[in-house]
Subunit: 293 residues, 2 copies
């Protein structure tokens, strides 16, 4: 029997590529709200004894996490062979420590929740900073796909003479993995008491005629990137390219970054966004093969 | 040490009455959103070894259920003595059966979720229709408070010569409990293929000069009540009173019912609403005493 891919909560270009690449069938379902705001969910595809994949980029998950649990529980109740969550973007990875007494370790609650409701998890470059491995958080088997090879390939094909820049220490792992033998620097970020960030550049750095390429895993508010860009503007370099794996772009972040003198913003398709130019489906499909035995 | 009451996600008049009546302290917390929409929660009251009550009317819970789980997990991580969920209105009780193949039994998923994250549950008149007891759904100890005595008392004090009307079979248990020796009828509801409801009145019913009092547990879309009211309008009775325990009033339901020739709409304060006139805190406080030993 063909595997099923449920694109949740709504269809996405990556979901379509995965479904097709797996030779799977798209899982059909009806999800609606009652007048009181409660959800109604009904599966329209038979799932018994089939491998089921839920493709759900977990950006802004608060409003629909309950629906995702309804879906996974219903798949289990109807005896799906396995329920695999494909979360190209994995949420709640950033509160990875109790920084101030009383704080909620949201990463732990979220991971426990998913671990309880699905059988395994596949994701792309989770924001592992203080955690070093998803197994510290997730009690189910997890598979991590790294976007670096395809981002590297994109740079080699599209950028002449690149100079990679990581805007802060957290970006370091991605910059190094992507740069390989290309030149790069990683900047320093400090967060001020007013909540704003300041980026410290090295005393001197010679980018020369190379193309600056900012690299980060997530762009959310864009504050870090904007701070880093502001400095570069005064250095007379070529207009930089901004590369990110997960394009969250909260609020007007995308517009603000575009307006900050960048040549191009390029992202991976983990979260649907107009800037998606690097298709990660080949890497995901390779990982998904393991589950289709 | 004083007990703590967290009013979640926001303060409510009932919450204030409960906190005061218990001689408890109000639990302080900070809940905010990051730019990417993820939640940040921090407890500001020390909770170690204290009994903690979360007062949360679970109306429209989808958007903040995750925050509630963050709260309860954080209370546990900080070693609260017990975490008691006071849900004056309990959500997801109506999908109590798989009516059509493939449907999600949302009542079960929701109950499992709460059972996993809190130690016990107190609620007011849950919509028990096909389930007969919360223990069929919830694996934690549950306490059910019945609003009937205070609704009966309100009717006796405020309505001369009442005639109670339950708009459909599901309302029957509440009508009977509230009516005691007062006259009442329970109408029949059928749901048409187009999704709309039709209410069937008895062939003849003599309300005479009595005051019609519609009684139901929940008013959500108000469709059932509006259908029942439409008939009464042509019978030349006194303007009816509409009584409900849980005032959800989805969309414009409240305005539409007011405009349907009713004399008054009166509800209990399980969900904050301008129509709240029956304060259930005395009944809840009695039940809460058991947890404060």
């Amino acid at each position: 029997m063909k595997s099923l891919v449920f694109n949740f909560p709504s269809p996405s270009p990556l979901g379509a590529l995965i479904t097709q690449g797996m030779g799977a069938e798209e899982g059909r379902f009806l999800l609606k709200s009652f007048p009181d705001g409660e959800s109604y969910l009904r599966l329209e595809s038979p799932v018994k004894d089939r491998s089921v994949f839920i493709n759900a980029p977990l950006v802004h998950p608060n409003g629909w996490i309950l629906d995702l649990l309804f879906l996974s529980d219903t798949l289990r109740a109807q005896e799906a062979k396995q329920v695999v969550l494909v979360a190209p973007y994995l949420a709640y990875m950033r509160q990875d420590k109790i920084f101030h007494p009383g704080e909620s370790l949201t990463s732990a609650t979220f991971a426990h929740l998913l671990s309880t409701h699905v059988d395994s998890l596949i994701t792309v470059d989770p924001h592992l900073h203080r955690y070093h491995n998803l197994s510290e958080l997730y009690s189910i088997p997890t598979t991590v796909v790294h976007a670096a090879p395809l981002i590297s390939a994109w740079i080699h094909e599209n950028v002449q003479d690149p100079f990679l820049i990581g805007p802060d220490a957290e970006s370091s792992q991605w910059v190094k993995e992507i740069a390989k033998d290309l030149p790069f620097i990683v900047l320093n970020k400090t967060r001020h008491t007013d909540g704003h960030v300041r980026i410290t550049w090295p005393q001197e750095v010679n980018i020369g005629n190379k193309t600056p390429v900012f690299v980060d895993d997530i762009v959310s508010s864009g504050e870090t990137l904007l701070e880093a860009l502001a400095h570069l503007k005064n250095q007379g370099t070529k207009a930089p390219i901004c590369l990110a794996i997960h394009p969250i772009f909260a609020g007007n972040a995308y517009e603000e970054i575009k307006a900050a003198g960048v040549h191009k913003i390029v992202t991976c398709n983990t979260i649907p966004h107009p800037s998606n130019q690097i298709d990660l489906s080949p890497l995901l499909l390779k990982a998904l093969k393991e589950f289709q035995q």
